[in-house]
């Protein structure tokens, strides 16, 4: 086992993973520097989500290594990975998965409450992030009474409220329309820059990827050089004609 480079907050080598025998990742290696925004792009089924789940410790790769700040994640026990995810990582899913019984601010404050923060401090921090994301007015509403875009912003606030070391965002703007998407991305990137949060952002959107410092492209579970738009379109056309 070789230790990762010192300047990488997150480092993966030769990650291989398969879902019940179907290959999802094949020999993927990458490093993410502290405070960097790394976009992971690729078509659907290319392994973006699996890569993020392996990096965040939700999945243990069948082969390969994942290191966080020179600590091997792939050899950690489930309990330690759980603690790492709670204390150092955050996750934004494509669909806003919120606790329906809690109000907007309670959902946003939940990670802080789980860490043992006081009710008042958790509420203050959550409200601050909800205001930044323009949903302060809906803080007392339950997710069921909100629009999908509002729910996704609450999910973003919940991910940012703990100011994590690494934020994994799996197509965070997928359910949003263009205007919402721009605002959420602006908030996300601004927060990442100002708080030196490392962001690993999986996206299908080329415009979203442009906001990142660096882009890694996956195709059929392998890391490839990013295809030019014309090539990608040609591939799509070919697959349609078959």
């Amino acid at each position: 086992m070789v230790a990762p480079p010192d300047n990488d907050v997150l480092w993966a080598r030769s990650l291989t993973y398969s879902h019940s025998g179907s290959p999802a990742l094949d020999d993927v290696s990458l490093g993410v520097r502290e405070g960097e925004i790394l976009a992971v792009t690729g078509p659907r089924g290319s392994g973006k989500t699996t890569l993020l789940r392996c990096l965040s410790g939700q999945l243990v790769p069948r082969r390969g290594e994942v290191w966080f700040n020179s600590t091997p994640v792939h050899t950690m026990s489930a309990l330690l990975r759980e603690r790492l995810r709670r204390d150092r990582f955050s996750w934004i899913a494509p669909e806003p998965s919120l606790v329906p019984e809690l109000s907007a601010w309670e959902n946003a404050a939940l990670p802080l409450l789980m860490r043992g923060a006081s009710h008042r401090a958790a509420k203050t921090a959550a409200m601050e992030w909800l205001e930044r994301l323009d949903i302060g007015a809906y803080a007392r509403k339950r997710p069921g009474a909100l629009l999908q875009s509002q729910r996704q912003r609450i999910a973003v606030a919940r991910a940012l409220v703990t100011e994590p070391s690494v934020l994994f965002a799996d197509e965070p703007t997928a359910p949003l329309h263009r205007a919402d998407r721009a605002q959420v991305l602006r908030t996300l990137t601004t927060a990442a820059r100002s708080h030196r949060i490392t962001v690993v952002l999986a996206t299908l959107d080329a415009e979203v990827a442009l906001l990142a410092d660096r882009t890694v492209t996956l195709l059929d579970g392998r890391r490839v050089n990013a295809p030019r738009p014309s090539e990608a379109e040609g591939r799509a056309a070919c697959s349609l004609s078959v």
């Binding site: 606790v99 409450l113 789980m114 043992g116 997710p143 629009l147 999908q148 329309h177 919402d180």
Partner: protein, 409 residues
């Protein structure tokens, strides 16, 4: 056939629940047949005996409905949906599954009854109760079939009705479509009309607080008052109570029915109140999650909790009726009936809890995704259980004590 094929492949626990429904159905069927057998030899008082069977019958039907609601067959599945098996067909499958389980139980009851009468020979205890069950007389086929069909028919109808009224595919508390196209929240920046086409997916919406608490309390109080008043009357009723009792049994039974109805009505409200109390005063993550979940589950588990509370307090109160030299002592059929009622109501509560857990699975996944440790989820569940026990145990004891005062007086 599809119901059987799907049922055969379900989880062991689901199959065990169906077996329990079959066993309960067998128990009630056997009680009904015993009533018939006794009535053939002793026509006097047979109606009263038949009426007593209504209590285990109601408990069994309630259990069958709870099992059907928690049936994995009902869980929306992409594979079945793709071939056109929607909520309506899934409801029909669950109702069929209930009918099959209950019919199996009724068949077992008939076999056991015939065996005890001595009509089936070659096994131990055959003909043990031949005299009691009028073995010297032929069984009226129509009556036997009618009595055996009671549980399957009622349970299937109640299942179909319960599942139909909740809208089939909806597994959540009260779910409604999120305000979406054409509805723009005031003051929302960026979210234009129709901006949320993806929001067509149903999102759990918190159900309003159950409103039955005042009615439940009033009915319980009225029931206890009626029971106390009736205990002073004469023992001239056509509805004799088991054991020894000097008052008016009809009045006591009416009072008891009111009390039980009141507790069943108040159950969801009390559960909701427990949850509310749990999450007030600046709660931490555990109290907040436990309290809100209990509030959300109040409608689902509150009713079975209230019914169990009523049954247990009834059993405790009825205990004071028995003593040495009773005119109507505690016999095996009374024991079977009591076991059926207690077992079915307890199993109904457990099944409702399981159903609530299934519904909560997505919330649990969300919590795990947000980094919640498994211990937090387990602790929140333990806090909920402790709160419910802490409230319902003294309530059961108090109602039982109040109900027992006139019976033992």
């Amino acid at each position: 056939m599809l119901a059987l094929r799907l049922g055969r492949r379900t989880h062991l626990l689901a199959q065990l629940r169906r077996l329990l429904v079959a066993a309960a159905s067998a128990g009630v069927g056997f009680l009904l047949l015993c009533t018939l057998g006794w009535a053939m030899g002793h026509p006097a008082g047979s109606t009263v005996r038949l009426l007593w069977c209504l209590i285990p019958l109601a408990a069994t039907v309630q259990f069958a409905v709870a099992v059907a609601r928690a049936d994995p067959i009902l869980r929306p599945r992409a594979g079945l949906s793709a071939v056109g098996l929607g909520p309506a067909r899934l409801t029909a499958l669950a109702a069929t599954s209930t009918a099959v389980s209950c019919a199996l139980g009724s068949a077992l009851a008939l076999l056991f009854f015939l065996h005890l009468r001595g009509d089936l020979t070659g096994m131990p205890f055959d003909g043990e109760a031949a005299k009691l069950l009028a073995a010297d007389q032929p069984l009226p086929l129509g009556a036997v079939l009618t009595l055996l069909a009671v549980v399957p028919v009622l349970a299937t109808a109640a299942t179909a009705l319960a599942l139909r009224s909740r809208g089939g595919a909806d597994r959540g508390p009260v779910r409604e479509r999120v305000p979406g196209a054409g509805q723009e929240p005031v003051g929302e920046s960026g979210a234009g009309p129709g901006a949320d086409l993806a929001s067509a997916a149903p999102v759990p919406h918190p159900a309003p607080a159950p409103g039955g608490l005042p009615w439940g309390v009033a009915l319980t109080a009225a029931g206890l008052a009626v029971e106390t008043y009736a205990s002073r009357g004469g023992a001239d009723s056509a509805l004799p109570l088991p054991g020894h009792f000097g008052g008016s049994p009809a009045g006591v039974l009416a009072g008891w029915s009111l009390t039980a109805l009141g507790l069943a009505l108040a159950g969801p409200g009390i559960t909701h109140l427990c949850g509310w109390l749990l999450q007030i005063l600046r709660p931490g993550a555990i109290r907040l999650l436990a309290g809100r979940t209990l509030m959300a589950e109040a409608r689902r588990i509150g009713r079975p909790l209230g019914v169990l509370c009523a049954v247990l307090s009834g059993v405790l109160a009825a205990n004071s009726l028995y003593g040495p030299g009773d005119e109507r002592p505690f016999g095996p059929l009374t024991a079977l009936g009591a076991a059926l009622v207690i077992g079915c109501t307890a199993a109904t509560l457990l099944t409702a809890t399981l159903e609530a857990r299934q519904v909560r699975a997505s919330t649990t996944r969300t919590l795990r995704l947000a980094g919640a440790p498994a211990a937090l989820v387990r602790t929140a569940a333990a806090v909920r259980a402790t709160t419910v026990l802490a409230v319902f145990t003294p309530l059961t004891w108090a109602v039982a004590s109040l109900a027992a005062i006139p019976l033992s007086g």
